[in-house]
């Protein structure tokens, strides 16, 4: 066993829940997985980019469009009432999923990117002034870098970056050192999309709060894989995307503490976000509607609700344990191949194996694996500064979901063998 795999074995406590998770039954729930690609069974290992959708989600969307399609929050007729009830029920499902104290703190957005932009453009523009600072980490996705750069450029504020070590772990003491009197917000990822690192979020939030700094969490890569409890974390904002947790694209959630959301100016103006409008003055609607201007993605919200219900049925703990088993198995197998190096070897990791092969560009790895029916992501993973930190232009990344199997990891390993053959 390799050092990286041994570290994972020794230091993570989650044991696979033997017998409680039937992966073949899970696979049967996902119509797309039954197909062949280039004549080979599809091996879908690009879950950190987006997950596949179970029949339950697809059916919920079809049911809405076939049976209950109507605009919400304004009709008195049957369809509108039904659609409104379904929409609001999905909000409650999302609320319970992240253990938010109130449903009105759950705001539907297009995805994590919009969640972050919403906070940057409302909370950020109101709170961050010239000379202030916003703190992020070196492992952020571009979506948790660029909105803050735009804000900082507009306000004359400074973006500070907490560094990481060679394993891809945050340097917590550096993070604390960068929390200063001018820090107005810390915006940090829960799990790194490119490396799989799970950040010590609870501790980071405690440190930030000790300095009076609120914290926004990019939860895009965490919510599909682990229990998230925003009350236990005590985060101020938490945002995630539906499509990475078996839901549709174009829908996500921003959770914020009521006091902060109440004080924030609205994000977009329009219908549904007002309580009264005259040409002289508009008063805004209460939470969460203040932040949901216009007709929302009703089908998306209903699909997201179905996805979270599906995950509840499998048990997020069971999914996490299953993925952890795959992570350990794959880390061991992949890093044992000569010439292959795993990038990101943190002690605490989600199901992501990012790797490079000596003398082979990741783009070529991706093309050759695709010919074997294996879908992985290759490139900079929207984390160019992180790639620079490791001195590489790109990596190949395999990332796991509930429906992946050890046999698929074996196929990946054979595929890497094929890459090495071509480039021998």
């Amino acid at each position: 066993m390799t050092t990286a795999a041994r570290r994972l074995h020794a230091e993570q406590r989650r044991a696979p829940a033997a017998g409680s998770f039937d992966v073949e039954r899970v696979r049967a729930d996902f119509p797309i997985l039954q197909q062949k690609v280039h004549g080979k069974p599809l091996v879908y290992l690009d879950n950190a980019a987006t997950s596949q959708k179970p029949r339950a989600v697809i059916d919920a969307i079809v049911r809405y469009y076939e049976g209950t399609n109507a605009n919400i929050h304004r009709g008195v007729h049957y369809l509108s009432e039904t659609a409104t009830a379904d929409y609001e029920r999905a909000r409650q499902t999302a609320q319970r999923f992240i253990n938010a104290p109130h449903a009105h703190e759950v705001i539907f957005v297009r995805g994590t990117t919009e969640g972050i932009n919403l906070v940057a453009q409302t909370f950020g523009r109101a709170q961050v002034q010239s000379g202030d600072e916003v703190l992020i980490t070196a492992m952020e996705h571009h979506s948790n870098i660029v909105p803050w750069q735009i804000l900082c450029a507009e306000k004359g504020a400074k973006l500070r970056i907490a560094p990481i070590n060679d394993q891809g772990e945050l340097l917590l003491e550096e993070f604390e050192r960068l929390l200063g009197p001018r820090t107005k917000l810390a915006a940090v990822t829960h799990v790194s999309n490119a490396l799989g690192t799970i950040n010590p979020l609870k501790r980071m939030i405690e440190l930030a709060h000790a300095h009076g700094v609120p914290v926004l969490v990019d939860g895009a890569q965490a919510v599909p894989h682990m229990q998230v409890d925003v009350q236990a974390l005590d985060c101020d904002f938490y945002t995630f995307s539906g499509h990475k947790v078996y839901g549709p694209t174009g829908i996500g959630v921003l959770h914020g503490k009521s006091a902060l959301l109440d004080a924030m100016p609205p994000y977009q103006g329009g219908g549904d976000m007002i309580s009264s409008v005259t040409f002289e003055k508009t008063s805004y609607n209460k939470l969460p509607y203040k932040f949901e201007a216009g007709t929302p993605d009703i089908a998306g919200v209903i699909g997201l609700g179905a996805a979270l219900t599906y995950v509840n049925g499998l048990g997020i703990g069971n999914i996490g344990a299953h993925e952890h088993d795959l992570l350990v198995y794959a880390t061991d197998a992949v890093s044992s191949i000569p010439g292959v190096r795993v990038i990101g070897t943190a002690k605490e990791k989600a199901g992501v194996v990012s790797f490079v092969i000596e003398g082979v560009h990741p783009h070529d790895i991706g093309t050759i694996l695709d010919q074997e029916g294996i879908a992985i992501r290759t490139g900079h993973h929207c984390s160019q500064p992180l790639m620079e930190r490791f001195g590489i232009p790109a990596t190949a990344r395999a990332s796991f979901a509930a429906y992946n199997t050890r046999q698929e990891v074996d196929a990946l390993v054979r595929g890497i063998g094929k890459v090495r053959e071509v480039f021998a």
Binding site: G359, V360, H361, H363, G379, A394
Partner: protein
């Protein structure tokens, strides 16, 4: 199924491992940087233009096997050519890799570049094969900004 060997021909693999005309060209009077933001490929092309003849050419940077081999073989194929001749080669090369007009065997204008004909079976890789050529164009047109495939 498209055969991988059509894409990764030995000549291409060999050029990607030992690229020709690689490195800076101190005497260059034209240069440009090309960038593929999707995969991070980045090359600089240096040209010494003598009248309308490409007297010398080199490239430097990092990228996948296809983009690197394409840059390497491009430098060989345009060195000593006039601008009009180089442009004609790129035109044919572009038609070939995009699948608009397949190359005939030993097509005189293309020469060894016909090894890239397999690229047309892999549409997402066309940008890899053409990055160096777009960068050469930018260098000759004297563009200041880095060219991007996007």
């Amino acid at each position: 199924m498209s055969d991988l060997r059509d894409l990764y021909q030995d000549v291409i693999l060999e050029h990607s491992k030992t690229p020709r005309n690689y490195g800076e060209l101190p005497a260059a009077n034209h240069k440009a940087e090309g960038f593929n933001p999707l995969c991070g490929d980045r090359f600089t092309v240096y040209v010494t233009l003598d009248g309308d003849v490409v007297r010398d050419i080199s490239f430097q940077g990092s990228g996948c096997a296809i983009s690197k081999a394409s840059a390497s073989m491009m430098t060989q194929s345009v060195k000593g050519k006039t601008l009009a001749e180089a442009e004609k080669i790129f035109e044919r090369f572009h038609e070939m890799v995009t699948g608009h007009s397949p190359a005939t065997e030993n097509e005189p204008g293309l020469g060894k570049l016909t090894v890239f004909s397999g690229v047309s079976e892999f549409p997402v890789r066309v940008k890899c094969a053409t990055l160096a050529w777009h960068t050469l164009n930018a260098a000759l047109e004297g563009k200041q900004d880095a060219v991007s495939t996007e």
